[in-house]
Symmetry: C2
Subunit: 224 residues, 2 copies
């Protein structure tokens, strides 16, 4: 009985890693599609999000079944409840990749990112992909050093997000209303990738060390 349970817990961990890999792929593709106005790639991200949603449902159903059948306690219970929560964060990251792809599709064949902000959004994209990749590795290896890197990229995403407001509000900004709307929404989506990545990282740190504050410092003040 215990052996079966151990195997099921291990499977749960592997499924989270696989789901995170899918999310990482979605973010990577969504960003490439955004920066190159690749309609076909954007469409594939939008279609694939249904698969990510299905992975979340499967994973959640399995968690509830494990709770019912195995009635885990202590660390095992923490693992199952954490999996429920982390899958929700990963699913939201998939939704955000879909949102980025939807903006790309709506502006096609024009590149949705206005001239002059390509470098900023390329940096945001790189940071978001690093966050997702490190989340995948963290889930697989429990290497706690990754949690700190994820936090740093979240800080970077916050800075880059703030710089998009700076570009629109402080500098000369003669772009269309549509471009202003798109930059506002895209910036928000990228900023949220970081938040969700940090959320998964915090849950992993808590799972492994029992204390979120040791590894990532106090919960930071939150921005709009």
């Amino acid at each position: 009985m215990r052996d079966i349970f151990e195997a099921e817990l291990a499977q749960l961990g592997q499924d989270l890693v696989a789901m995170s890999g899918r999310v990482e792929q979605a973010i990577s593709s969504a960003g490439i599609a955004l920066l190159t106005a690749d309609l076909q790639l954007a469409e594939s991200v939008i279609a694939d999000d249904l698969a990510i949603d299905a992975l979340e449902r499967d994973l959640d159903d399995r968690c509830v079944r494990l709770l019912a059948q195995q009635q885990p306690v202590a660390t095992d219970l923490r693992v199952v409840v954490s999996a429920l929560r982390m899958s929700a964060s990963l699913e939201r990251m998939g939704d955000l990749a879909r949102h980025v792809a939807q903006v790309t599709r709506a502006r096609y064949p024009v590149v949705a990112v206005p001239t002059g902000l390509e470098a900023t959004f390329t940096q945001m994209q790189d940071a978001a992909v690093r966050v997702a990749r490190r989340v995948t590795t963290l889930l697989g290896t429990r290497d706690m050093a990754l949690a700190e890197s994820i936090q740093q990229d979240d800080d970077l995403l916050d800075e880059l997000h703030a710089s998009t407001f700076g570009a629109m509000l402080a500098g000369p900004w003669d772009r269309s209303v549509q471009e202003t709307v798109d930059v506002t929404l895209l910036g928000r989506y990228y900023e949220r990738f970081g938040d969700h990545g940090v959320s998964v990282a915090r849950r992993m740190v808590y799972l492994v060390t029992g204390d979120v504050h040791d590894a990532l410092g106090p919960v930071p003040a939150r921005s709009a």
Copy 2:
């Protein structure tokens, strides 16, 4: 033992209702502050969000303790797992109220909603408050008719959100970049109130009837 468990489950339900009431209050105050540029009220919403976050943590800790100590199965297990998920949605609604209040504070003493869009945002605010109020009542009474009303207000919020894009992109729009950014963000926050309300309603319907599709129809196609 069973009596204690029943009492703990009932308490969990009451705490969710109380949390939802706090969120309803936050949304109501955030909207009044937004539409009247009431700095003091906006500050109180921002400060109170910490209390809503604390309610979520307490509720979640209690759910995990219940799972560990009582090892519920069947319906009881569904109740506890649903509470975990509904508290997360309520917490996000509280965050969104805080975001609205933060925009209000940043624009003070100017009203953040541009002239000409007051009626639209008043309608969005009214719909968001109705959603939150009905979620509170649904959690307390399990009156399934409310789930459908929540869904209708979510549809209304989507329409009103779309109409803000129409105002900015189709009509004459000579507003500042800051106003364009604010309308884009505020519209998104209000649209998300509806999504989270529907998410709680779906979980309640599932909890009571075992089938989300009977009461609210198929899961709708999602928008950006």
